[in-house]
Symmetry: C2
Subunit: 231 residues, 2 copies
């Protein structure tokens, strides 16, 4: 594959945080376009929508990325409806969350920080040049760990706290969807051939059938993206 | 126990990163002095000196801290003599490392970042006020993730990437040993009653007996600390 990013130190490899949803799938295809070797990293952290991992696995297989699913001990994350079955996932509430600038209870404490830190150790260990994370701060639920300020701060921290960083070649954090709306993301993905039918976005799928609820923030954002772009 | 740090939002609790060595043991006793509830967090990451976890367990039990050992999948960290049995741990080389400003091969890619990120999710999930990390940048091997610049950058990142952070009450990163030499650390610990005989520092213990090698950077630093302060 073409590769414009080769630098002397790193082989042309990267790590993609792959949940199995729309955004991370788009990142995976972007990464495949730009790097010779792509590692995909997913997490089993006791999420109620663990079914997303099937999509992650399928997507990684389709593109030929080396896929790892890291296990985070159940019980680490608390106070989130995504990991605590006693807390209800909000339904039809995206507009309210955004209007009130309210961080919804689907926020998982420090989740992206932990996922990025796993990816960082993985990437530095294998001399990868970068990490892709599919955050975007336009069509989202207002999570703090999806914003440009956070990505900049994490990048800066990589520069100070890693060997590669202090030696002047920090692992680069790539958030190529940051400033795109959901429909733009899907347009981009369509141009790359992302098979969105294999992605999964719902936070609260039916425990028996695995079918998406259609009403959580993530389902609402997905509908917005796909109804426009896949017509 | 006395508690000067109580703030309205958090109950008076903290998380201590506890390896089982001198520094983290000292932090544990400092934390016990300052907080009502102390969680101790250790990691099994495939380190060749896994025997340190016994010390961590013992220390946590002695003070009555709630202790967790998180498992990091073996194979995540690569290229370090602490996790790869094929790479030799340098012996009698501390002076050389420091003179040449060389980061030794005992550096584990992104290890403190990952450990702090675990602790951060743990702390924010349980509404803890802070995290203790026993890094110090005087008597050390020159690791980037033990320096003040790194701690400041990580703290700044917490402020941007967590709910508690953007709401103005970020989990605080405490590195109380940062500017102390090893002998000062042990003097401080002695004043707190730290049972240093139960700590373990060696990077490369005998696989059968678990006895310290006496020659790795960590053993040399330990000797410097204890020979002065425990005479």
């Amino acid at each position: 594959m073409p590769n414009a990013k080769k630098i002397s130190k790193s082989p042309s490899s990267t790590v993609v945080l792959l949940s199995g949803g729309l955004d991370s799938a788009t990142c995976l295809y972007l990464a495949m376009n730009d790097y010779e070797k792509v590692y995909a990293l997913s997490f089993n952290y006791g999420q109620r929508h663990k079914v997303e991992l099937r999509s992650a696995k399928k997507l990684a297989k389709l593109v030929g990325a080396e896929h790892y699913i890291a296990k985070i001990q159940t019980g680490l994350f608390q106070g989130s409806s995504l990991t605590d079955p006693k807390i209800k996932v909000p339904k039809n509430a995206l507009k309210k969350h955004l209007d009130k600038k309210e961080i919804p209870n689907t926020y998982v404490p420090g989740r992206n920080i932990l996922f990025l830190s796993y990816a960082l150790s993985f990437a530095e260990s294998r001399n990868c040049e970068s990490i892709y994370i599919g955050v975007n701060a336009l069509d989202y639920s207002g999570y703090p760990d999806c914003r440009p300020d956070f990505i900049r701060a994490y990048q800066s921290m990589i520069g100070k706290g890693t060997k590669a960083g202090v030696e002047g070649q920090p692992v680069r954090l790539l958030a190529p969807l940051m400033k795109l709306g959901k429909t733009e993301i899907v347009q981009l993905g369509n141009s790359l051939g992302v098979p969105y039918e294999h992605t999964f976005s719902c936070y609260d799928p039916d425990p028996k059938t695995g079918k998406a609820c259609g009403k959580c923030d993530s389902c609402i954002l997905r509908k917005k993206a796909l109804s426009v772009s896949l017509k």
